[in-house]
């Protein structure tokens, strides 16, 4: 798994410029995704995970949010330097994304087929199949039953799980190099979450995509990911292979997150929640952002932000304890 990274995010800063001040929602994020790898981007809601994804695709909420610094390299090309037209060629074709809520992510007034065609039509088919045939094929790939019927149906006629499969089909329709999955199973029934995760894993293997998997759930990370990047208050605080992070978490925040995953074996133990609140993103401290909530905080943690240091093979953490 030592191939070159397909997607590299370097020192990304995306801020909201509001009347009451600047909110530094993404504040220096760096990570890389290798071809055919699943990277989990993990953190609490509001830590900047989703905004990182939207920054990569350059689909930030209009006007208020802007990427002010950094690079997003897709096969070495900087997406942030591309024109709007070039960027449109990237979206859907080279980087696809699955949104959280299947109930709202399909347009209610167009048929499934219509919405698939829109994605498929952007890339000519080398095998000369019609749009309809390709739509049926791609629905079959996401294991949607009776695809011929489905393409004539409208979103409200499908269940949530089926809709999310359609969204998945749209995502893979142009065989992208990178897929971003933003909490793709959060809105699904528990019983079908697992099926969907298996499907994603299967698609990833067969298509060789790199997946950036955004979640708040370490349980899902264990099942899905090869590597993990833990994000806290706009920055990555720890990165490493999944096994390594689970066995040997270095950053106290990672430790807390892993400890809060309920395990079947020790149901007797109370679920450990992390006390306190993340810092306000409009008024970030100079030191470590987790210091307030950290059980091991020292004076130097408040004074200076710890740089990322290597703590093992491919394993880095930003913590003074590790330094």
């Amino acid at each position: 798994m030592d191939s070159a990274p397909v997607l590299e995010v370097r020192n990304l800063h995306t801020h909201f410029f509001l009347r009451r001040g600047v909110v530094k929602a993404v504040d220096g994020v760096t990570f890389s995704l290798k071809r055919g790898e699943v990277l989990g981007l993990v953190g609490e809601s509001g830590c900047g995970k989703s905004l990182t994804a939207l920054s990569i695709l350059r689909l930030l909420p209009q006007e208020a949010a802007r990427t002010v610094e950094g690079q997003v390299l897709l096969d070495g090309e900087d997406l942030l330097a591309k024109s709007a037209g070039e960027m449109r060629e990237v979206r859907g074709q080279r980087i696809a994304m699955i949104l959280q809520d299947p109930q709202t992510s399909l347009n209610p007034v167009f048929s499934i087929g219509n919405q698939l065609h829109e994605a498929l039509a952007r890339r000519p088919d080398e095998r000369g199949r019609s749009l309809r045939e390709r739509a049926v094929d791609v629905l079959r790939q996401v294991r949607l039953a009776a695809p011929e019927q489905r393409i004539g149906q409208y979103p409200h006629e499908l269940s949530g799980g089926m809709k999310q499969r359609v969204v998945g089909a749209i995502a893979i329709s142009c065989a992208p190099e990178v897929m971003i999955a933003d909490e793709p199973t959060t809105a699904l029934d528990v019983t079908i979450q697992l099926q969907y995760l298996n499907l994603l894993k299967e698609l990833q293997t067969s298509l060789g995509m790199g997946i950036l998997f955004i979640t708040h759930d370490f349980g899902v990370v264990a099942r899905m990911c090869d590597r993990v990047a833990v994000m806290y208050a706009g920055r990555i605080v720890e990165t490493g292979p999944v096994r390594e992070i689970f066995d040997n978490p270095v950053h106290p925040y990672t430790q807390a997150l892993i400890a809060s995953v309920p395990k079947l074996r020790d149901t007797a133990e109370r679920l450990r929640a992390i006390e306190g609140q993340p810092p306000a993103l409009s008024d970030l401290p100079v030191g470590c952002r987790f210091a307030d909530r950290c059980p091991h905080a020292e004076p130097r943690c408040l004074e200076k932000y710890p740089e990322a240091v290597s703590v093992g093979e491919n394993h880095t953490a930003s913590c003074w304890l590790a330094a």
């Binding site: 979206r91 709202t104 399909l106 209610p108 007034v109 409200h156 006629e157």
Partner: protein, 305 residues
């Protein structure tokens, strides 16, 4: 889909029966309409004569029975003023109204859709502010007065346009503008707010993720969704259209149904007014049915209900 149309049709017929009954009983419960229609110096003989002529003898229920039997046969009574069957007068005036409404609707739609969309796309921008001003002025200016202002400026002061009645294309300009601006404000604001809502939706986000162009996002993905509330609030616009047509035709002495309604009111021609309202109801229900079908076409969730 057929069931949906049938359902709407049945609802329309029920509504028609209700409207007809309400119209009839309002006329009878608030006193004998004859007293309203006779001049003050009328004799008891005149009164009896009129009662017979209008079939107002017998109990109210008997009268209603007669009225319904006649109505089903297409006889909605005779106008007192014109001494002709009311439906004949209605149909002789109808083409004039039907000639005026489409240009006004086209004007309203041609202004409302682009302005509504542009103000949503550039929220707080110049177009948004201008259209907000047009909207608030539009709902604040009574359109009978707007018509008079137009007549004062373009006919009286500058002498550019004919002030009233039908005739050449020039005669259409002021009534079209008067009726059109009456509708534009509501349309425009509704399209703006529903455009804003759809632009903010997840499916638009997904369309952008797919790489769909902004043009296709606005005109394909958003507009159709933005039209749904416009169609579902159609009844309100229909009310505005009828009110606007009555007032506009009155101001411009336009010999259509609206003007006929006004004449029935000022001449206290109760049978004519009653007939006009019932005929209006039939037309409105017919148009509402068409809108319901269009609604189902635009929104598949309705189609398969």
């Amino acid at each position: 889909m057929q069931r949906y149309i049938l359902q709407r049709l049945v609802q329309g017929v029920i509504l028609l029966v209700v409207v007809t009954s309400v119209v009839f009983f309002i006329g009878r419960m608030t006193g004998n309409p004859v007293d309203m229609m006779l001049p003050e110096d009328a004799t008891e003989e005149d009164r009896q004569d009129m009662i017979e002529r209008l079939e107002l003898d017998g109990s109210v229920m008997d009268q209603f029975g007669v009225f319904i039997v006649d109505a089903v046969q297409g006889d909605l009574g005779t106008s007192i003023r014109y001494r002709q069957p009311a439906t004949d007068i209605f149909f002789s005036r109808l083409p004039n109204t039907l000639a005026m409404i489409p240009p006004a609707m086209i004007l309203a739609i041609a202004m409302a859709i682009p302005l509504g969309i542009l103000s949503a796309l550039r929220r707080g921008g110049i177009i948004d502010r201008i259209s907000a001003t047009i909207a608030v002025l539009g709902i604040s200016t009574p359109n009978f007065w707007l018509g008079i202002v137009l007549i004062y400026l373009f006919s009286v002061t500058w002498g550019w346009l004919p002030s009233s009645r039908m005739g050449g294309p020039l005669n259409y300009i002021m009534p079209t503008v008067t009726l059109g601006t009456f509708l534009v404000a509501g349309f425009m604001r509704l399209i703006r707010s529903s455009m804003l809502e759809t632009l903010d939706s997840e499916f638009v986000k997904l369309a952008r993720i797919k790489g769909v162009s902004e043009t296709a996002i606005v005109w394909k993905h958003c507009l159709r969704n933005a039209l749904i509330p416009v169609l579902s609030l159609w009844g309100v616009f229909m009310g505005g259209l009828v009110t606007g047509a009555i007032v506009t035709e009155t101001v411009f002495a336009w010999p259509g149904i609206g003007r006929l309604t006004y004449e029935a009111v000022i001449f206290r021609d109760y049978p004519l007014l009653q007939a006009v309202i019932i005929m209006d109801a039939i037309f409105i229900l017919f148009i509402n049915l068409l809108v319901d079908i269009l609604y189902a076409y635009v929104d598949p969730r309705i189609r398969f209900e």
